[in-house]
């Protein structure tokens, strides 16, 4: 199956094109401020590099985040509307899972970490390999590094663009507990998005093109304040 994968939740427009097991194109364009402006041109470039046109694509994958809220909306809206316009299936995938997939064969559990853009708040999750599949252990984590450190009870490999920075922070939190923390600096890749989407689409599992929404994991600040206010009223 030929699948186009898109992830714009970070600082790049990550675009990948795969045909089954084969990667035909995989690009990450710096797009911290011009993600929307360039996204369709980037997709066009990736398709041309793969020697394909949009009509050749049989399914779409899109990174749902977590990450930059505005950034995710670009990729998710583009993914939804490309799938809608071409009447092809769409699969949304967690960007944390995309990072975990990028780690390849895992010997130890991995913990992808994404900056949540508010102080030292991060989005994270733990994944391990079972029967050749990546499985998430427990819920997504949203909170500070101290809280995340408390969850680490066994050797783990941190993933993400700031993995080394977080390793230092976590090491200073857990001190001399003797738990080995590895780090691999990595960004979500378009072909990883496409591969995870392909795996679902092959099983006939896809998302509803119209209702698919980003994985924000955090409420908007206005909603948080309002809920606090209402709680005080009570």
């Amino acid at each position: 199956m030929r699948v186009l994968g898109i992830d714009t939740s970070g600082y790049t427009n990550a675009i990948g094109v795969i045909d089954g097991e084969q990667v035909l194109a995989d690009f990450a364009f710096e797009a911290k401020t011009d993600s929307l402006q360039k996204i369709v041109s980037h997709i066009d470039f990736a398709l041309k590099s793969a020697g394909l046109t949009l009509e050749d694509i049989e399914g779409f994958g899109v990174g749902l985040g977590p990450g930059s809220w505005t950034g995710i909306r670009v990729g998710v809206t583009v993914g939804k509307m490309l799938a809608f316009s071409t009447a092809k299936p769409l699969s949304g995938v967690s960007t944390l899972e995309v990072l975990a997939y990028g780690a390849g064969d895992m010997v130890t559990p991995v913990c992808p970490i994404i900056d949540a853009g508010a102080g030292d708040t991060v989005y994270a999750a733990f994944y391990s390999a079972r029967d050749g599949q990546i499985c998430r252990n427990g819920d997504y984590y949203v909170g500070n590094i101290a809280g995340l450190s408390e969850m680490i009870k066994e050797p783990v490999t941190l993933l993400g663009s700031e993995a080394y920075h977080y390793r230092d922070l976590i090491n200073s939190e857990i001190g001399t507990s003797g738990i080995s923390i590895q780090a691999i600096a990595t960004a979500p890749g378009g072909s990883a998005v496409a591969w995870l989407a392909n795996r679902r689409l092959q099983q006939g599992d896809s998302d509803d093109v119209l209702s698919l929404t980003p994985l924000y994991l955090k409420e908007s600040t206005a909603r948080v304040f309002r809920n606090k206010y209402l709680a005080q009223e009570r």
Partner: protein, 339 residues
């Protein structure tokens, strides 16, 4: 030529199908009224999230209602300028994707230009040149529409938009959101001469507006009465406030007619739905032998049909946006002046 219009610049998610810039086949508008009432106004992040949830449904419904499929669509027009950046972005991302998928032209439109075309769309007898007063919760502008897609900005608000003043006064009086319709309704039962509120900038030698001071004056009058224990007739406050806004809008527009070769006035935007404003404009224009035109009610507030109409005008002039179209939250309309 069949155009798909998309509008997400503020809190309305809208898609429309318009034939040849004239015939509205569908105009689907999903309001965020529930959110507005909950938060007492537009919260950009919450509005952007809602646009992302709704955009696909709204486009599909616009196609279904018009009895068309995407294959029938020949071009996509989208609001790309003037509005909340995170909200504009959702519409533009959708429009680009559709344009690219179908291999059809894309055209980015200025939101205010959309409002100008809302009136043209509703009134085949409205021609160029004319004056356009566009008043809503987000803007208040007086424009000389010299020709198709040629505009001169004559005046604008220095602080609050007219509709914003309605919203804030309604919020202060605990009347809910949005304030326009509720003040319009309440005013019919009130005495518009009960309070003598200021007419800001009425005597100033320009065509600009200011509503912030008027708003403060209304709030102070309310508080004074509250302090002295006098009755607080909400109807009278609403009617007197509305009369002050209407007076200024009409007077300044009439002043703009002087020395310009215009025979018609067009009043657009959400506030143009106000019944008192329509009535006073009709009376004043009749006296001076001017034509006056308003959009039909469904085209007063933000909608995608007006965006499709403006986009068609741009396309007819050979103007097409490329796939690198970006959003600009604050963009002067004059930048768009062609010809």
């Amino acid at each position: 030529m069949l155009l798909l219009g998309i509008e997400t610049s503020c809190d309305e998610t809208s898609a429309a199908l318009v034939a040849d810039g004239k015939v509205v086949l569908s105009n689907v508008i999903a309001t965020q009224l529930d959110l507005l009432q909950k938060y007492g106004g537009v919260v950009p992040e919450i509005a952007a999230r809602r646009h992302t949830e709704l955009i696909g449904y709204v486009i599909k419904e616009a196609l279904d209602k018009a009895g068309k499929t995407l294959a029938d669509v020949e071009a996509v027009a989208v609001t790309a300028r003037q509005g909340l950046i995170g909200c504009l972005l959702v519409g533009v991302a959708a429009a680009k994707s559709i344009s690219y998928s179908l291999g059809i032209p894309l055209v980015g439109v200025h939101h205010i230009e959309g409002h100008i075309f809302a009136s043209l769309l509703s009134n085949p007898r409205l021609h160029f040149p004319h004056l356009c007063l566009t008043v809503s919760g987000g803007h208040s502008m007086l424009l000389h529409v010299q020709d198709c897609c040629r505009y001169e900005l004559l005046g604008t608000t220095l602080d609050d938009a007219a509709g914003e003043a309605f919203d804030k006064i309604a919020k202060f009086l605990n009347l809910g959101f949005p304030g326009g319709p509720v003040i319009d309704k309440l005013s019919t039962q009130g005495n518009s001469k009960a309070f003598r509120f200021p007419r800001p900038l009425l005597r100033a030698n320009n065509l600009d507006f200011s509503f912030s001071g008027l708003k403060t004056s209304v709030i102070n009058a309310f508080k004074d009465r509250l302090a002295t224990g006098e009755a607080l007739p909400q109807e009278d406050i609403a009617a007197s406030f509305q009369e002050a806004v209407v007076d200024v809008l009409v007077a300044k527009t009439m002043r703009a007619v002087d020395g310009r070769e215009v025979s018609a006035i067009s009043v657009t935007g959400g506030v143009s739905a106000n019944r008192r404003l329509r009535k006073v404009f009709q009376e004043s224009c009749q006296k001076r032998g001017l034509g006056v035109f308003f959009p039909e009610l469904s085209l007063c507030t933000d909608n995608a049909a007006m965006v499709a109409a403006a986009g068609y005008a741009r396309l007819s002039r050979g103007e097409v946006s490329d796939l690198n179209l970006d959003v600009i939250p604050n963009s002067p309309l004059e930048l768009q002046r062609g010809g």
